[in-house]
């Protein structure tokens, strides 16, 4: 039996239906379809930047995925959230809540806001140098994890005899102090069902050391950009080594290669989203390409970035997934309930 392949999908391409993408049904239909294909998770990207040509705006990704959570039962829900201009405390509690409302299917695609357009819209601070942004978001990830873990899983004791709702010995002030923010108290939100929703980090092999550091020290899932199988192989090996050096179990890191795909829904190769691995053609051929990469690079799977999610997703679910199943590379159905289950990541202790 070959190694299992993990498959996830970015829902960012609105498929030239800007008005429709403001309605809940646009998202819930797509996510429901992705769940029919038993995909590990979907991501919804973000940018507080102004609207651009191919989209007429963006809804808040946490809200979008929360809206989809009650209508789905298995698929992982991974919003991109930047903490550059927002409060790390809020990011942590919002994601913990997404994990509660989805009963253990939330993740966090860690992001920064680095553009001239974003900073003055939110105010308070200018555009910081990239190194500072990545160092800060690593702190935000650390703070978020500590907040998730600030409640031990069994803290809510509801002890009628003493009248105590919690055992406060099992709640911990996190006292996080960083150069840009500090957070003192335990989280407002009790321990999320997954203990710690998986953290995803997008990484290009050419990215700065700060991004590599974030990925190696905080990511459960790395969404890797690589143009060649050899590059992916080397990058994965380097990530596992750095994770081990950071004191983590390298077995608990999943590397998914980003692939921009046009399965017939797009308007030609020019419309492919930016990614170093690019594919235009039929789903059956994509299955072959992914199978080759999976075998030769040692990566755990792929994060598909379709030209148009509404147009390409049916081909992913109805053609690509069956083709991968024929090769015994992809699950016939979900075997677990949580995103950690799908990714084969152990639940953290506590």
């Amino acid at each position: 039996m070959p190694r299992e392949l993990h498959l996830s999908l970015a829902l960012d391409g609105t498929g030239h239906r800007p008005a429709e993408s403001l309605a809940a049904a646009h998202w819930t239909d797509l996510i429901g379809l992705a769940e029919q294909g038993a995909l590990d998770f979907v991501t919804v990207g973000d940018s507080p930047a102004p609207p651009h040509d191919d989209s007429a705006g963006r809804l808040d990704p946490v809200a979008v995925l929360a809206r989809a959570a009650p209508l789905t039962t298995r698929i992982g829900l991974v919003p991109a959230v930047s903490t550059t201009h927002t409060e790390p405390f809020r990011t942590s509690t919002a994601l913990a809540t997404l994990d509660h409302v989805s009963e253990g299917r939330a993740g966090w695609l860690v992001d920064v806001s680095s553009t001239e357009a974003e900073a003055p819209a939110v105010g308070g601070r200018g555009v910081a140098p990239a190194a500072e942004l990545w160092a800060e978001v690593a702190d935000a990830a650390e703070g978020a994890v500590r907040l998730w873990e600030s409640w031990e899983g069994d803290a809510e004791t509801r002890d009628g005899a003493t009248g105590r709702f919690i055992d406060r010995e099992r709640l911990h002030h996190i006292d996080f102090e960083g150069p840009h923010f500090s957070v003192r108290s335990p989280s407002n939100v009790p321990r999320p069902p997954q203990g710690r929703p998986p953290i995803a980090v997008a990484l290009d092999v050419h990215d700065s050391d700060g991004q590599w550091e974030l990925a190696a020290s905080h990511a459960d899932v790395v969404l890797l950009d690589a143009d060649q199988p050899s590059t992916a192989w080397l990058a994965r090996a380097a990530l596992l080594r750095r994770a081990a050096e950071a004191g983590r179990d390298p077995e608990a890191l999943r590397v998914l290669v980003r692939a921009a795909v046009d399965l017939g829904g797009g308007t030609g190769p020019g419309a492919l989203p930016p990614a170093e691995l690019r594919f235009t053609g039929a789903a059956a051929d994509l299955a072959g390409l992914l199978a080759d990469w999976h075998e030769t690079t040692g990566v755990d799977g792929f994060h598909l970035f379709p030209t148009s999610a509404p147009a390409d997703l049916p081909a992913v679910v109805h053609d690509l997934v069956p083709a991968l199943r024929e090769r015994s590379l992809f699950r016939a159905d979900y075997t677990g309930r949580t995103l950690r289950d799908h990714l084969g990541l152990p639940r953290p202790a506590g």
Partner: protein, 457 residues
């Protein structure tokens, strides 16, 4: 000719992190699991309520330097729960309490506009101003805001958010097409706001939502809070639910509207209200007494007495007499993260008064806290409660009530099954939702129409 009957507005407050919520009751479920929220929201929608209401606190309460553990502790994030509830309800309004001190307008406007889209026009924002340094310790700027600036920031925050909501008019997106541009106007969403608290500019990236703006609630009770409500809010979440206090508050704030060129019907007064329902009035009285004893255990009584005494009273017997020592009137308060402790403006006087009350009635500490605490606002049979609610509303003590049940998540069932049909029979409460948006339920105009009206007049 008699005045036409007012229609009553009803809403459901999800049980919160104070001692109203009786978590020790065998029927009590989780305050965190989403299934509790679904159950509660669907009960409210079955009863044709106007909206569901979520309060907010941004730091777990502490008392005497320790996390307060006698009430429910913890609550999920407001926006995320409301967005999820939009999936399991169709008509129910979704009101979230969101603070204007430890947030920024762009982010909050974006979240409400997103919620309004994702719910098809059912969002509302209760703008609150908690500014305390204790809460600030969880946020980037700490306790940066002086108390006297809380409403100047709130006002400017809301003004900036409104500029963002209004930065799209609703006609910018061209019909779906295969290629080319999608916006009629590349400058859609452009905004510039410069003021004392905010200096922001850019392009807002959420197009006009179904309600234009979320419905705006306000909750603070000070003079400034009332002026803020009269000038900006669509509704007030008040604490004045008795007939006399309700009428006084109602008259007070409605009279302030004219100063802002607004009509009486443009601001709804919706007090929080508790209730105890039973088959007969006598049974309800008995049950209400029992619930109040559950809400105030001996341990809770001591902690509540500490709000006034501002001292560690853990060595006192809750079934014994009140402390002889006087309250500590220093500024550093034993209780952190609660609004209500600020209600005791003169603790020495309160302590004196309570000692006299306790002595005169032979009350223990626990008896005193129960007797001076809030009684349930509505106690009785379904007939009594329906009649009383209607009388209060028709007598302008309020425009309706935000009900706070004491059991999570089933505490609304009996009210939905027994009281609501009586109000419907009397013709004072809807039998079906008449429109899709929360503005429709509340009888509030769309902001575009309000603007047109102001321009025309």
């Amino acid at each position: 000719m008699s005045k036409p009957l007012k229609q009553i507005h009803l809403a459901a407050h999800f049980p919160g992190v104070n001692n109203t919520t009786v978590w020790s009751d065998p029927r009590a479920g989780s305050n965190i699991e989403f299934s509790s929220f679904v159950h509660f929201a669907q009960t409210a929608e079955r009863a044709k309520f106007d909206f569901l209401f979520l309060a907010e606190g941004l730091r777990l309460r502490e008392q005497g330097g320790q996390i307060y553990d006698l009430d429910v502790v913890g609550r999920p994030d407001t926006f995320t729960v409301l967005a999820a509830l939009a999936a399991v309800t169709e008509h129910l309004g979704l009101t979230g309490t969101i603070n204007s001190t430890f947030n920024e307008p762009y982010e909050v406007a974006r979240q409400f506009a997103s919620l309004d889209h994702l719910s098809g026009g059912r969002s509302a924002w209760n703008v609150v101003t908690s500014w305390d340094a204790f809460t600030g310790e969880n946020f980037r700027r700490g306790g940066f805001l002086p108390q006297e600036e809380r409403y100047s920031r709130a006002k400017e925050f809301l003004a900036a958010a409104n500029e963002l909501f209004d930065s799209w008019h609703g006609d910018e997106i061209l019909a779906d097409q295969e290629t080319g541009t999608f916006l009629r106007d590349a400058k859609a969403g452009a905004f510039v706001h410069t003021g004392q608290h905010f200096d922001i500019h850019g392009q807002f990236n959420v197009p006009r939502s179904p309600q234009g703006r979320p419905v705006i609630f306000q909750a603070g009770d000070s003079e400034e809070g009332r002026e803020f409500a009269a000038s900006e809010a669509d509704a007030i979440f008040s604490r004045h639910a008795t007939l006399e206090a309700g009428q006084a508050f109602y008259t007070d704030v409605k009279n302030r509207l004219a100063g802002y060129g607004r009509r009486h019907d443009q601001l709804l007064i919706l007090p929080a209200a508790t209730f105890t329902l039973a088959d007969t009035d006598a049974e309800a009285e008995e049950l209400a007494r029992e619930v109040r004893r559950q809400q105030v255990s001996g341990a809770t009584a001591l902690k509540h007495l500490e709000f006034v005494w501002n001292r560690d009273l853990s060595s006192y017997d809750p079934d014994g007499p009140l402390p002889d020592i006087d309250p500590d009137v220093s500024d550093n308060h034993i209780s952190k993260g609660r609004a209500q402790v600020r209600m005791y403006r003169d603790p020495l006087a309160t302590a004196r008064e309570w000692r006299e009350l306790a002595a005169a009635n032979n009350w223990s500490i626990r008896d005193l806290v129960i007797e001076t605490g809030n009684r349930q606002n509505f106690i009785g049979s379904a007939e009594t409660i329906a009649r009383t609610i209607n009388e209060f509303v028709q007598a302008d003590a309020s425009d309706g009530f935000i009900l706070v049940p004491h059991i999570t998540p089933t505490g609304l069932h009996e009210f939905a099954d027994k009281v609501v049909p009586l109000l419907q029979e009397q013709g004072v409460f809807r039998t079906e939702y008449e429109g899709p948006t929360l503005r429709d339920h509340l009888g509030l105009a769309h902001p575009d129409d309000v603007r047109d009206e102001r321009v025309a007049s």
